[in-house]
């Protein structure tokens, strides 16, 4: 596979992904709690017997005390549907010109594949949505390990380009997602911060569990440029000529403020948020992010 190799698998094989704080609502029985009553080991409540109920569910101990029939009801356990929503805009193709680091999109793909492996291993389903200024690709969730191969092939065919339109992309996928799913967003969150934040919060409003991986290149944090530079945006548009030296200090300060803003606002919305930089191994970044969960 392009984005997942055996060596990386070896590093993450001991990880376990338990992201769900709410209730799962998958099509299959699974390891996650659901809102439905069904067959499982977890007792839910007693209900007075009505004709048609199976006799094996009658609680004879209660009958001995009350001389009326009550049946035992159990909480049904469902599997989890996960949707990986990848930003494939032009800005995700950025990588530092001076260091041998992967582009942000590649890094995000590796993260997604690693996470998909962990989820599929516990028989949960994984789906995929890729977007830039419009939805580009959708792969329905499946809990078979073969899904991993399909994910890899799908991602290998994606070239990051175009403008970022989080609102359009995520809104579209919000319609497709089943209720109470897990939405994992991989994006550099480039664009107006309030708008992006509101779009992601909208996903949460659909009762999905939302996890955001903010994928960044270290240069975007450090702004390590000197002298006059003509910045050419990867998403197209007018270039910006400026003296990087003059901007550096302010940029760093503002960038730190932006990260703080995302962290605080996602935390307030109970949205999982992790900032990952492409200069750190993705396995470590994943481990750290799951540890937070």
């Amino acid at each position: 596979m392009r984005y997942l190799d055996p060596e990386s698998l070896g590093k993450i094989k001991n990880l376990r992904f338990v992201p769900v704080r709410g209730l799962a609502e998958g099509a299959y029985s699974g390891m996650h709690r659901s809102a439905y009553k069904g067959s499982s080991q977890e007792f839910m409540e007693h209900r007075e017997y009505v004709p048609g109920d199976e006799i094996k569910y009658i609680d004879w101990k209660v009958y001995a005390r009350k001389e009326r029939f009550f049946v035992r009801l159990y909480r049904e356990e469902k599997n989890l549907r996960s949707y990986f929503l990848l930003d494939a805009s032009g800005s995700m193709a950025y990588k530092s010109p001076r260091a041998a680091r992967p582009a942000k999109f590649e890094y995000a793909c590796r993260l997604a594949m690693g996470m998909a492996y962990l989820i599929l291993r516990q028989t949960d389903a994984v789906g995929l949505g890729v977007f830039s200024d419009a939805p580009k690709l959708f792969l329905a969730p499946d809990n078979q390990m073969a899904q991993l191969e399909r994910l890899d092939q799908a991602l290998a065919g994606v070239v990051p380009q175009g403008k970022t339109d989080m609102e359009g992309g995520l809104a579209y996928y919000a319609q497709l997602l089943h209720r109470r799913s897990l939405a994992v967003v991989f994006s550099d969150l480039m664009g107006p911060a309030e708008k992006i934040q509101s779009v992601i919060r909208a996903l949460k409003a659909h009762k999905h569990e939302v996890l955001v991986f903010h994928v960044l290149d270290p240069v975007e944090r450090d702004f390590d440029f000197e002298g006059p530079v003509l910045f050419d945006p990867l998403e197209g548009g007018e270039a910006l000529r400026c003296d990087a030296h003059l901007l550096k200090e302010a940029y760093r300060r503002e960038f730190a403020e932006l990260i703080k803003y995302y962290t605080a606002s996602f935390h307030a919305s109970e949205i999982g948020y992790a900032t990952v930089y492409t200069d750190q191994p993705w396995e470590s970044a994943l481990k750290k992010a799951l540890g937070k969960q």
């Binding site: 800005s91 002298g227 006059p228 003509l230 945006p233 998403e235 910006l240 901007l247």
Partner: protein, 691 residues
């Protein structure tokens, strides 16, 4: 005149460099690197918010950098703020202009070569430059000075051309420097001036000898005492002068006694000189020798040259004085150094020829004495007293006579005539020699009345009598010998007559006495030169005794007379009282000029000693010479710099600028340096980054 001028205006060509930070900034902006970036939404936001302030700071930094460079360049170009300006054309100095006294040192130390030219030429050029820098209404007074002063106009004038002509015409003379009278004259002239700006430019070599008549250690105070408003400036010389020169040249005996046959030259130094100097010995126009003499700085150095044997040798030379004297005239010359004038020293010595003495009588002790070095100066001939008639006495200066017995009256008359005409006669006795009739023959010559028969009485020790001529006493120093060991066993008692001077006596007995006779002199030794009468001939004092007596009789002075005067002094040659006045005299200078001199007042006087070297003097048919040298009394050859100087220095290569700054302005260089420092700190503050 603009309120600010620049002493080094060439640096102003670098002024456009001050724009370098701005140009570099523009150049870098236009050559911005094109770099891809993920998204500019955030960057644009930051840019929009931050850039106005950053750009302001950037332009401010650029401005500070440009100003820093500008003031740095201005600092190098040495700006001067003019607080006292030269009056405009036609304005009189009395209305507030400038009066300047230029003192141009023309002493011979200014002949020192500095950077390929004599210092005097540098000073001359500086004087012309100062005159050029003065405004049309400014006045100046130019004076050349050594130990004498000479001025162009006598008072301040604004006629620049006259002053220039005077300066161009000035030349180095051979006189020593004395700054005191020159400064006094300058201050005196300025005291009458009503100009608001008064200055004195001392264009000298700043050698310490020029300051010798100014109060040592309080020069500044002394100068301020004249007039503190008058500004003084001198020239700056960037060298350490060194000089080797010839001091005194004298004639000496090589072995400390006897004939003086060696020339000794004192070699003096100033500054850090080379360890060797080439020295040349010239005599009568011929180069006798050339040698390398070792030289030690700040020590007494002496070089010597032994003259060739006379006669026939070069030491004898020609004989302008005939038989009576010979001349040693020449020069001691050092290799030429930066100050050439004092590298040669001329000398002229008139040597007396050896007096001829006739000894009548065969005395062993006399013969032995004349064989010694002390009496080698005399040519002694011995003759039998009976053959005195055959001798031409005029060939001799003195006669030692002991054979009195049976001398004919004619012979005695010849001898008396010889003495009367200026000869010397020394009488002594032979044992048992004199009879009464012989005594009578010499009565009028003898310095007293002698007893008829010799006395046999032992006299121990000789005493110098007070009547002995003082000059002779000092010169011969008989008392340096052990006169108390001399014994006289037989002698004739002498009753001195009037006019007799007793030289030696013992126990109140006059033993040696002298008296004049005509133009000559007579000495009488009342004993004999025989061991049976006295042990004097066997004592060391005997030769000195003889030398003294013979020198007295023959008017012989063993000290050679140096015929040397200093530059500017008059040469005076008197002739002996009673001697015949010369009819004519002529002096020939070293350059060949001939001057007729009129002998009068008993002497020959010659005043045109304005050249260094040997002058020939012809008096009638007799030729002699005298030397004219530089006067070392002023210390002119000592070139040590006066330290500290009581005035600011003007640099030779920047004289015009320095003069302008000195006379008119207040230098702004320090202000520029201060501004540069301030701007440097400001730039650091503007570009300081908080970590």
């Amino acid at each position: 005149m603009t309120p600010v001028s620049f002493l080094s205006p060439a640096f102003l060509w670098a002024a456009p460099l001050a724009l370098a930070p701005f140009l570099i900034h523009l150049l870098f902006l236009s050559r911005a690197r094109k770099l891809p970036f993920s998204d500019l939404t955030f960057l644009r936001e930051v840019y929009r918010r931050v850039m106005p302030r950053s750009r302001l700071m950037q332009w401010l930094t650029l401005l500070v950098r440009c100003l820093l460079l500008l003031f740095l360049i201005l600092g190098f170009s040495r700006p001067v703020l003019h607080w006292a300006q030269a009056p405009s054309k036609g304005a009189a100095a009395d209305e507030g202009g400038v009066d300047v006294v230029i003192l141009l040192d023309a002493s011979y130390s200014m002949g020192y070569v500095y950077q390929g030219k004599a210092k005097f030429l540098w000073a001359q050029r500086s004087a012309l430059e100062i005159l050029k820098q003065l405004g049309d209404g400014d006045r100046s007074l130019v004076m050349t000075f050594s130990d004498r002063l000479e001025s162009a106009s006598g008072d301040f004038t604004s006629r620049r051309e006259d002053l220039k002509a005077f300066v161009e015409k000035a030349a180095v003379n051979l006189r020593p420097t004395d700054l005191a009278p020159a400064l006094e004259a300058a201050y005196s002239a300025l005291s009458k001036s009503r100009a608001s700006n008064k200055a004195i430019a001392v264009l000298s070599d700043n050698a310490a000898h020029a300051f010798r008549n100014l109060p040592e250690g309080k020069l500044g105070e002394a100068l301020a005492a004249f007039d503190p408003k008058v500004k003084l400036a001198g020239l700056a010389w960037e060298d350490s002068p060194k000089n080797v020169y010839v001091g005194e040249v004298r004639l000496a005996a090589a072995d400390g006694g006897g004939a003086k046959n060696t020339l000794l030259a004192e070699l003096r130094t100033s500054g850090a000189v080379e360890p060797y100097a080439e020295i040349k010995w010239w005599l009568n126009g011929r180069l006798l020798a050339r040698e390398r003499a070792p030289i030690k700085a700040a020590a007494r150095n002496e070089a010597s040259y032994r003259l060739p044997e006379a006669p026939g040798g070069a030491g004898t030379g020609d004989r302008p004085g005939g038989e009576r004297g010979r001349l040693l005239a020449g020069k001691v010359e050092l290799q030429k150094d930066a100050l050439k004038l004092d590298d040669a020293r001329y000398f002229a010595y008139k040597l007396q020829s050896a007096p001829r003495v006739l000894c009548a009588g065969n005395n062993f002790f006399l013969k032995r004495a004349f064989g010694t070095d002390t009496l080698a100066l005399f040519q002694a001939d011995f003759v039998d007293p009976r053959r005195l008639d055959e001798v031409d006495l005029k060939r001799y200066e003195a006669l030692l006579l002991s054979g009195w017995r049976d001398m004919s009256a004619e012979t005695a008359a010849r001898i008396k005539n010889f003495v009367h005409q200026g000869g010397g006669l020394w009488l002594y006795f032979l044992p048992g020699d004199v009879r009464e009739k012989d005594m009578r023959l010499w009565e009028d010559v003898l310095p007293g009345i002698l007893s008829a028969i010799p006395r046999r009485s032992k006299l121990s020790g000789l005493v110098l009598a007070e009547q002995m001529p003082g000059g002779l006493r000092g010169r011969l120093a008989w008392d340096g010998f052990e006169l108390q060991n001399v014994e006289v066993r037989q002698f004739y008692h002498l009753e001195p007559v009037e006019g007799t001077a007793v030289w030696l006596k013992s126990q109140d007995e006059a033993l040696l006495a002298s008296r004049p006779y005509g133009a000559g002199k007579v000495i009488l030794w009342t004993s004999a030169l025989d061991p049976s009468w006295t042990n004097l001939p066997m004592k060391p004092v005997f030769t000195a005794w003889l030398l003294g007596g013979l020198s007295h009789l023959s008017n012989f002075n063993p000290e050679e007379k140096s015929e040397s005067i200093f530059y500017g002094e008059a040469f005076i040659r008197p002739w002996a009282p009673g001697a015949r006045s010369p009819k004519r005299a002529e002096v020939e200078s070293p350059s060949g000029k001939r001057y007729a001199v009129v002998p009068e007042g008993g002497q020959i006087q010659f005043f045109q000693t304005d050249e260094l070297g040997l002058y020939r003097l012809r008096v009638d048919d007799e030729t002699s010479a005298f030397a004219v040298n530089l006067n070392p009394a002023g210390g002119e050859s000592r070139l040590e710099r006066q330290d500290p100087l009581p005035w600011p220095s003007l640099r030779l290569h920047m004289l015009a600028e320095d003069w302008k700054a000195f006379l008119y302005g207040r230098p702004l260089r320090n202000a520029c340096v201060g501004l540069v420092l301030f701007l440097f700190l400001a730039e650091m503050a503007l570009t300081y980054k908080k970590s």
